[in-house]
């Protein structure tokens, strides 16, 4: 227990100290009246906002989280399927890879308004934006991973009598997992951006919407509260992926 605490401190103490110092200076400067509170609210005001508006913020966090998780799940499902097909069939890779790359080049800010026109300002258009932004790293991760070859190991499994399915199951999946998780980590973080951007462009709820409407009303503490929640949410999402990676990628 004590060892784990020591380890935790050795890893996280420096960033924690840096955080505390920055917040502390920020608070002091605010108290001295260097910043006007409607321009840059002091940390205490953000914490108060988080506390007093918690049910309001929670409700909108739920909306954003739903968009992110559904979009990300779809991206994982379709990204894995497409990545698998691309690595298995050369003609499929040739015909689809340019479009997978192109889908990433189109600025999401240009696409989101169209999606909102087509699918409305509700959940579906947000899920599609999250999907589009997190699809690419996952496809590429799966594709790269499954394209990794180890001829020696493949031959060895053949001499053990393994069929193609067993070779895929024993060898290829495990060779592909690390790069799948690299893709998923990138996707998990960018999916949060996707959801916020989509909400910014057209919606009636969600943390992105809160930020958009609170700014012009000079409710900056509410904008900051949303940012804090989003950061925490993205960190948790990332840590969950990291946890799964540690569980599944061994040795």
């Amino acid at each position: 227990m004590i060892d784990r605490l020591k380890f935790f401190l050795s890893v996280y103490s420096l960033p924690l100290i840096a955080f505390v110092i920055v917040v502390f200076i920020w608070q002091i400067l605010s108290n001295l009246g260097v910043f006007q509170t409607w321009l840059l609210p002091p940390p205490t005001m953000i914490i108060k906002e988080l506390y007093y508006s918690k049910s309001f913020l929670l409700e909108h966090t739920f909306t954003t989280a739903t968009e992110i998780l559904l979009g990300l799940c779809l991206a994982i499902i379709f990204g894995t399927i497409i990545g698998f097909l691309m690595s298995s069939y050369k003609f499929f890779e040739r015909s689809i890879l340019p479009y997978v790359i192109a889908s990433q080049v189109i600025p999401i800010f240009a696409l989101a308004p169209l999606l909102i026109v087509w699918f409305g300002a509700g959940l579906i258009s947000k899920i599609i934006v999250v999907f589009l932004i997190s699809f690419f790293p996952i496809v590429i991760g799966v594709f790269d991973g499954l394209s990794k070859r180890s001829n020696d190991m493949e031959n060895m499994l053949k001499t053990m009598g393994a069929n193609n399915f067993q070779i895929f199951n024993i060898l290829k999946i495990n060779l592909a997992l690390p790069s799948f998780f690299s893709g998923l980590k990138v996707a998990s973080v960018s999916s949060v951006i996707g959801a916020v951007v989509a909400e910014w462009i057209g919606s009636k709820s969600g943390l992105g919407w809160i930020m958009k409407v609170s700014g012009p009303l000079f409710q900056t503490e509410r904008v900051f509260a949303s940012i804090v929640i989003l950061s925490i949410f993205a960190s948790i999402l990332f840590l969950v992926v990291k946890f799964l990676e540690n569980k599944l990628v061994k040795g």
Binding site: M153, T159, M160, G161, A162, I170, V249, G251
Partner: protein, 234 residues
């Protein structure tokens, strides 16, 4: 062409070593025998079997342990693939792992093992594959001299229950002499097998064998024969 006009019947239940300069086609020959590559001409047959893949255990030069499996799972992999994993085969694995000094490392991952241990694990995995024919491609090349002698003793002690047909490719004349019943000197090009010699000392052999007159004599003979063959690449 590296291998040309080669015709040979390997004796069953014996250990045959193939020695020769590097690049003379020893590893290629093993790959052909194992079924990984098909010869341009000719056939390879093993008694009572139509297929070679899956029937011949083949330990390649690299240890090729799967890094995401524990030593235990690496050892049982060939049995799992063939669906032959049961209590008896598991017990057999444990017994042999004890003899080879691997037992304490069964729950370790390959990256946590030393080079010598990895090779022993790869060796045991090959032995455990349920087949009567075993190909070993310089299995102990990365071990130091002391560890090697240790391993030779282990193999000799395992010999009773191994009792399989083994082809061992090696650079090391002493290793060949100590472990084999027959040694072949190989060269690249035409008529690859230049010379062979039978080693009649019964198993299990003791380390003393390494310094016996008979051993030294055969070693001299082999060195002379090896000097006679000149590989294409020199």
């Amino acid at each position: 062409m590296i291998i040309d006009n080669l015709s040979y019947v390997f004796p069953s239940n014996k250990t045959v070593s193939i020695i020769g300069h590097s690049g003379c086609g020893k590893s290629t020959l093993l790959q052909i025998i194992s079924g990984i590559i098909e010869p341009d001409n000719g056939t390879v047959r093993i008694e009572n079997h139509t297929d070679r893949l899956g029937e011949i255990a083949y330990m390649q030069q690299k240890d090729l342990l799967l890094s995401w499996l524990t030593v235990n799972d690496n050892l049982l992999l060939p049995l799992k693939i063939k669906n032959k994993l049961n209590k008896k085969s598991h017990k057999e694995m444990i017994e042999k792992a004890k003899i080879l000094g691997i037992y304490d490392y069964l729950e370790f991952y390959p990256k946590e093992l030393s080079g010598g241990l990895k090779q022993r694990v790869a060796f045991l995995r090959t032995i455990l594959q349920d087949s009567d024919f075993i190909l070993l491609d310089e299995p102990f090349a990365s071990l130091d001299a002391i560890k090697r002698i240790e391993i030779y003793n282990w193999i000799e002690s395992l010999k009773d229950y191994i009792n399989k047909s083994i082809i061992l490719v090696t650079h090391d004349i002493e290793e060949a002499l100590f472990l084999s019943d027959q040694i072949i000197v190989m060269d690249s090009g035409k008529d690859n097998f230049k010379f062979n010699i039978d080693i009649n000392t019964p198993h299990p052999r003791k380390t003393d064998f390494l310094v016996e007159d008979k051993f030294i004599e055969q070693k001299k003979l082999l060195i002379r024969k090896l000097n006679e063959v000149k590989s294409l690449d020199r």
